[in-house]
Amino acid sequence: MSALTNLTVGDVVAERTVHLTRESLVRYAGASGDFNPIHYRDDIAAAVGLPGVLAHGMLTMGLAVGTIESWLGDTGRILEYGVRFTKPVVVDPETGADVTVVAKVGAVDDESARIDLTVSFNDATVLVKAQVRVRTV
């Protein structure tokens, strides 16, 4: 029996902190094809009224679910994954940004479980309703 069959609501199944730098943003821009300059140019970020250069929301969404992969084993178990983007992750040119992910069991039924991801930066939640439904059988 795998670890996926004995889940209790509230269990923390995985957690990690990912350190983002400007290099991370350039790397994600290249890998994803999203070259919106607010993710690498301070002057443009400032011109559109942002507090600084921001991480791509899809980068945050991607690294958040990556947290549970080793626990899950096979990413083919993921049936659904959704998030709401609420607060930006501002990536300082010198000190970067630390994004913390805590994955907890939110609900369990006979065939699947809902894993709730708490994703925070500077003690504020940046993704709301970040939920992964995984097949447990």
Partner: protein, 149 residues
């Protein structure tokens, strides 16, 4: 110009096939800090029953980019990229994307809801493989502000 409500139900052509490459999967996995070997090592992916390396779950967004371009490219859409904010994203999977897949996305706009001068636009991209089988549906909710620039 506000968002054109006639986008709902409009017929969009399927996107040109996207061939998923092994190195692209490795590159994307590294970029999203997905360090599990199923994304980089073909032997690890094969041990899980896949033909080649498995793309991380959010890789589907790369394939849906062409549909976003279609939406922005509609001359009467009323949507200007600079005014678009990504509010919500959801994926529903039949199976993960694997290197070697040839994927096509089909866009539909399923809802437009006015919010003052802005609008919430819900778009769905249904991604299918070369055999026509469903792989993943990506649902994006975009908050579209008003403005011509």
């Amino acid at each position: 110009m506000p968002v054109n409500p006639e986008l709902v139900g409009r017929d969009f052509a399927p996107t040109a096939p996207y061939l998923v490459g092994r190195e692209k999967v490795r590159e994307f996995a590294r970029a999203v800090f997905a360090d599990d070997p199923q994304h980089s090592d073909p032997a690890a992916a094969q041990a899980l029953g896949y033909a080649d390396v498995v793309a991380p779950p959010t890789f589907a967004i790369v394939v849906t980019d062409a549909t976003l371009q279609q939406l922005l490219g509609e001359p009467d859409s009323g949507i200007v990229l600079q005014n678009v904010l990504h509010a919500e994203q959801k994926f529903r999977y039949s199976r993960p994307i694997v290197a070697g897949d040839e994927l096509t996305a089909r866009l539909s706009v399923t809802g437009i809801r006015a919010m003052g001068a802005a609008a919430m636009v819900t778009s769905e991209s249904e991604i299918t493989d070369a055999a026509g089988e469903h792989v993943v549906t990506a649902t994006s909710i975009l908050l579209v502000g008003e403005g011509d620039q």
